[in-house]
Symmetry: C2
DNA sequence: CTGAAAGCGCTAACAC
DNA sequence: GTGTTAGCGCTTTCAG
C-alpha cells in the first residue's frame, strides 16, 4: 500500500548516472552498451526496485508482448488444456496471454476479438474456422499473426493448427464397424453451437451409410457436455433402443456419463455395448471399463499455436500462413 | 493483411469535424458533450472502423483495464473453473483478464506477478495465502487491489476470497466418523507443493486423533492429481491394508481414481469402503458409486474476486481488505 | 460544452 | 558507445 509513485526509467538512469536511452538499452540487453554501463544500470534498477512499464514499452515500440487467446469457454477441460499448452510454450519469452471466452456465441466472439485487438497483441489464437465473414475481415485486417486452432475443416484466415473433425468421425465409424459393431446409437450435447462436434457426427454418419448402416437411435441435448447429461441421454437411448451394440457420443464427457450409466445399470461394456467418445481425457482413459476415443493433442495444439506467434515476430512473418496438421489417433481400448 | 495503418482518434475527430478531445469524450460517453457531437463522432467512428488503442488509453489515464490472474496451473479443471468465473464476472465491463501459471513454484510465481505488475493491471487475483515474504512485499507495494483466492487459513495481503481447508478437512473427518467409519486410509498427490491439500490433511488427521483414531495406511505421490494416480495409489493402499472402511483422498481426481479401482476390482462402494474427495467436480458427482466430497464454489470464488476488483476501481478502494468466506459443504452422497 | 497544450513512460531514429 | 530529439495514441488539465 505504499503509494510512492513507481520508479521510472528516468529514475534508474539518474541513479546510474547515464541517459534514459542507455538505461533502456542496458536493461533490454541491447548490443552496443559498455560493460560498465550495463552493470551500473542493472545495479541501480535493482536498488530502486524498478519494474518497467509494458504499456509504455508497447506503445512506443508498437509491439505489445501480449498474445490474445479466444476460446469458447473454460468449464470444459479441453480448452483449459489448450491454454495450459500456450502458457507453457511462452513461459520465459516475456509474452503474456490474455484470454477471452465466447460461450460459442459468434457475436460475443466478435466483441472479444475486437476488444483484444485494441491491446495491439503480437498475435491472436482463435478457436475454430467457422467465424462469420465480419469476424474474418476483422482478423485479416489486424495485420498480426492469427492462428485458428482445433479445426482443419475449412478455410483459415492465416495459420491454423488442429485436426480434421470430419475425418476423425469417419475414422471412428470405420474402426467401430471393423470391430464388428452394427447397431449404432448417438448421444450428444450442444451440437447446435459446437460446429466441430457436428463435423465429427457428419463424418461418422456418412461412413455408416457408406456401409449401409444408420443410427438406430439418437439423443441430443443443447446443454454443456457433462457426465450427468451423458448418463441421462444414455438412459433414454437404451430405453428406446435396448439392442444397441455401440454408442457414439459427441465427446469424452458424454462418453464417461454413458459408461457411468452402463456400470450403474449392469450393462456389460464393451461386451454388450461399445462406447466411443472424443478427446482422450485422462479421467476417461482410466475408467474401469474401456471406452473408445480419439486422442487429441490439446496441449500440443496450444503450444504449436503459441510457437507460430512467437517465431513470426522475429522477422517478416516467416511462419505466417502455416498449417499444422495433427492426425486423429483412434483408440478402441479393447 | 491490409497493412493500412489503423485509424486513430485523430482520424475520427477529423472525419467528425471536431477536436480530438471532443471525440475522445464522446466515445467514452462522457457527461458534458452535446448530443450532436456524440452522434457525429459515433457515426464517424463506425464509418472508419475505429477500434481504439487500449495501450495508449491506459498509459495516459494510468488505469489499465487489465486484471492479472495467477493460478498454479490449468491442467486441473478447478482453476479453469475459477478463470471461468472471473471471465463471466467481468464480461461487459471492458476489463480483460491476463493470466499466468506457476506450477506451484514460488519463484515462478514471483516472476509471473512481477511481470504482470508491469502491465499496470487494475487488480491482481492470486491463488493462495502462502506466498513468501518477498512476494508479499511485491504485492503490497503494488498499490492496487490484490485478492488472494481459494484459501482462508493465513494472513491476506489485502482482500481474500475462499474457504478454510483446515476446517474442511476436519469437518470431513467428523462426518465420516459420525457415519460409523473407523479404519481410515489416505491417498494423495502433490502434497509437498499443494499447501491447501496439506491443510486439509492436517485438519483431518487432528480430528481423527481427537477421536483416538489414526490413518492405518497412507500412500502419496508427488505428481499431478489424476484419476490414474488415484487408481494406482488405491491399489497399493488396499493391498497393504485390505480392511480399510474409508479412504480419504487429497481431492476429487484422486477420489475418482479410487472409485475406479474399487469398481474394477469388485470392492463394494460405499458398503465396504467409503471414499471421500474434495471439490465436488461434476464428473465425480455422477459416478456410478457415491463418493463423499466437499463442495467448493470455484466459479463463485473467481467471480467474487473479480467483483472486488471491479468495484474497488470506482473510488477510494472501497472494497479493499475484504474477506469473503465460503463455508465448506460436506456431502457424503449416501 | 469545446479545444489547445502538455504529458503518460518508453523506444526509434538519428546524431555525436 | 552514448545522448538527443521526436514521437507512440490517448487523456488530463486548464482555458475558453
Amino acid at each position: 500500500m505504499t503509494t510512492a509513485k513507481r520508479a521510472t526509467l528516468a529514475d534508474v538512469a539518474a541513479a546510474a548516472g547515464v541517459s534514459k536511452m542507455t538505461a533502456s538499452r542496458a536493461l533490454r540487453g541491447a548490443s552496443d552498451v559498455s560493460r560498465s554501463s550495463i552493470d551500473k544500470v542493472q545495479k541501480a534498477a535493482r536498488d530502486i526496485g524498478y519494474v518497467g512499464n509494458h504499456l509504455a514499452m508497447s506503445l512506443s515500440s508498437r509491439r505489445s508482448n501480449l498474445i490474445g487467446v479466444v476460446v469458447p469457454g473454460l468449464t470444459n477441460i479441453v480448452f483449459a488444456e489448450v491454454l495450459s499448452g500456450i502458457a507453457a510454450a511462452i513461459a520465459g519469452s516475456g509474452m503474456q496471454p490474455v484470454f477471452g471466452t465466447t460461450d460459442y456465441d459468434p457475436e460475443r466472439e466478435y466483441d472479444v476479438i475486437r476488444n483484444m485487438l485494441s491491446w495491439n497483441p503480437s498475435g491472436l489464437i482463435v478457436t475454430g474456422l467457422d467465424q462469420p465473414q465480419e469476424t474474418r475481415r476483422l482478423l485479416a485486417a489486424a495485420d498480426i499473426p492469427v492462428v485458428q486452432i482445433m479445426d482443419l475443416d475449412g478455410d483459415p484466415v492465416d495459420a491454423c493448427v488442429g485436426l480434421s473433425h470430419h475425418a476423425a468421425g469417419a475414422a471412428m465409424a470405420e474402426a467401430l464397424i471393423r470391430s464388428g459393431r452394427r447397431a449404432f446409437g448417438y448421444a450428444g450435447c450442444g451440437l447446435e453451437r459446437d460446429t466441430r462436434a457436428r463435423k465429427r457426427l457428419a463424418g461418422f454418419t456418412e461412413t455408416l451409410s457408406r456401409h449401409g448402416l444408420a443410427f438406430r437411435a439418437t439423443k441430443t441435448r443443447e446443454t454443456l457436455s457433462t457426465t450427468g447429461a451423458g448418463r441421462a441421454l444414455t438412459k433414454s437411448l437404451l430405453a428406446e433402443a435396448p439392442d444397441l451394440d455401440c454408442i457414439y457420443t459427441s465427446n469424452d464427457d458424454v462418453a464417461a456419463g454413458c459408461a457411468y450409466h452402463c456400470i450403474a445399470s449392469g450393462v456389460p461394456v464393451p461386451e454388450q455395448v461399445l462406447i466411443a467418445g472424443f478427446n482422450g481425457l485422462e479421467f476417461v482413459e482410466n475408467l474401469p471399463v474401456p471406452v473408445a476415443t480419439t486422442i487429441t493433442p490439446r496441449r500440443e495444439i496450444g503450444a504449436e499455436a503459441a510457437r507460430i506467434i512467437l517465431t513470426s515476430g522475429g522477422g517478416d512473418d516467416r511462419e505466417t500462413g502455416r498449417r499444422i496438421t495433427f492426425t486423429p489417433k483412434i483408440e478402441l481400448g479393447l
